[in-house]
Amino acid sequence: MIGKSLWIVFLAALFIYFVLPLIMTVIFSLSRGQAGFGPDAYVALLSRRDLLAPLWMSAQLALATVACILLFMVPAVIAVHLFAPRLRMLLELAAILPFVIPGIALVAGLSVLITGPGWLIGSPFFLTLPYFFLALPYAYRAIDIAISNLDLTQLRLAAASLGAGVGRTILWVVMPNLWPALVNAALMTFTVVLGEFTVANILLFQTFPVSINLVAKSEPAEAAALTIVSFLLTWVALLIVLLVGRNSRKTFDTGRSGASS
């Protein structure tokens, strides 16, 4: 009985916190004021070419950050687990820092630390640096938990005894087992970057969330519509990544990928 009541409270809280704001945003985006409801704000969005560039910019930044996470974070976590488990504490600490350092302090620190070259700090892709830092906790957790559950040391020894060197062990044993965690890390990173406002706004880069904020000042209904559209786009992106991930893991030893060499 208590369990059932708790569930009801939990679902009610979930509804109030997550679903209700979405519903209200949808209603607001469809509202014509005294004239009832209609898709005017969504139609208006289609004619706003000025939003496409920020959207494309945010998507590129998200992909660039995901690439950085996969390129640097994954090998680092694997290496620490395999060869230097004592350094894990250091990674744990680094993964907590984004939670305790406010966005504005992060930007201030970066501005002092990195003053050039101009092509780097003047480019929107400079944001990849703070975004990598902001996405670190989510990506690290996903990858670290997966590796911890894997008993990597034992699998490495098993692979070595069967003739596989470190490279093949990582490619043929570690990575396939990390695939769900990598998808998770990528999704988390993508979502964090797509929704990041503070850093981009302070550094005066026109990303998608910054644009939504600007639109909201003059066209609140369009801003609400934009929020809903970006929300749906994010979900579609996540769904695509999930589907791609699922199809890629169907078989491993097919012998058709050149893996037999």
Partner: protein, 346 residues
């Protein structure tokens, strides 16, 4: 092919544990078991042979080649791990085919060879099963097939049965022995289970503090242990500290024990060693004129299926005996010819 340690030394950084001056050879087709308490160095010895750890001094040979310093992937030794270490993303045949894939064997051939090996270990019906769908025993069979499929020069078994339940352990023990005999491959088995070691090994090596205390056939180790540590580690034992009173008699907490004292003289400290099943139970009071007959009071009498294990309080000590007789026991006879004298503990 022979696998051999020659004066191997390895000490873990920051501790004195490891292996010290380890020398031992495992002949072609031979199964040698390494047993010992936790921290005795048996797993370290296996890691050194496998190439997972490199020795600080000494040589490791496989066949007539010195492989010291050669990496694990180049040693070509099959290893079966305690927790199987199957790759969770690969099905049974893919796991078994992995070492063939590493060696560039074409897909169709490696699949056929993997299936053939799985059939050999009784897993022909589960070739497509993922590791999480298999029981512990089945996973161990797959691990064994994977360790043998690439025709390794030797087989290393690291506590392969310790994660299995008792009945399955016996079944798998026989299975490992059967496959090992079929393969005719030099095998090192590391285990803390002395029964497992005695039942399948050609020779058993007992390790203590990184050194081999005794190596020999299970029968030799059981009947003639070199010291009280080996006697206590291999099977059940009565071990009483004693002093030679005169030729043929040793004083112990359970009274004077008649035995062959050999070159020992009066006052020499010894450990008196008798296996519980060597002691004869008596349903009558002991006769004073018969050497080795002593009376005792039953402390415990446990039924263990085919045998009973009885602990008798005698003097200030205890005598343990094992018998298949169902009659009450009020005294025992310790046959002097079965009593062994071991050096006292340092």
């Amino acid at each position: 092919m022979t696998m051999a340690f020659e004066s191997i030394n390895y000490t873990y950084p920051g501790s004195g544990t490891g292996v010290h001056d380890l020398s031992m050879a495992i002949g072609p087709g031979e199964l040698v078991a390494l047993i010992g308490a936790s921290g005795s160095g048996k797993t370290t010895a296996l890691k050194l042979l496998a190439g997972f750890t490199q020795p600080q001094s000494g040589l490791i040979r496989i066949g007539d080649k010195d492989v010291t310093g050669v990496t694990a992937e180049e040693r070509r030794l099959g290893v079966v791990f305690q927790n199987y270490a199957l790759f969770p993303h690969l099905c049974a045949w893919e796991n078994v085919a992995f070492p063939l894939r590493v060696r560039g064997v074409p897909h169709a051939i490696r699949r056929a060879q993997a299936i053939q090996m799985l059939e050999r270990v009784g897993m022909g019906a589960r070739i497509g099963s993922m590791p999480h769908m298999l029981s512990g025993g089945q996973q161990q069979r797959v691990a064994l097939a994977r360790a043998l499929v690439f025709d390794p020069k030797g087989l290393l078994l690291d506590e392969p049965l310790s994660a299995l339940d008792a009945s399955l352990r016996v079944e798998m023990r026989d299975e490992i022995l059967r496959v090992q005999r079929q393969s005719g491959i030099a095998t090192l088995l590391v285990t803390h289970d002395q029964e497992e070691a005695l039942s399948i090994a050609d020779r058993v090596a007992v390790m203590r503090e990184g050194r081999i205390v005794q190596i020999g056939t299970p029968r030799v180790l059981y009947d003639t242990p070199v010291d009280a540590y080996v006697a206590g580690f291999v099977g059940q034992s009565n071990l009483w500290p004693g002093t030679v009173e005169r030729e043929g008699l040793v004083g112990t907490p359970v009274g004077p024990i008649a035995c062959v004292t050999g070159t020992r003289i009066r006052g020499d400290a010894v450990i008196v060693f008798v296996r519980p099943e060597w002691i004869e139970p008596l349903a009558r009071p002991p006769r004073a004129e018969v050497a080795g007959e002593i009376a005792g009071e039953t402390l415990s009498d446990r039924f263990l299926g085919p045998i009973r294990r009885i602990d008798l309080a005698v003097g200030t000590g205890m005598v343990r005996l094992e018998t298949h007789l169902r009659t009450p026991v009020s005294a025992v006879r310790i046959p002097p010819e079965r009593v062994r004298l071991l050096p006292p503990l340092e």
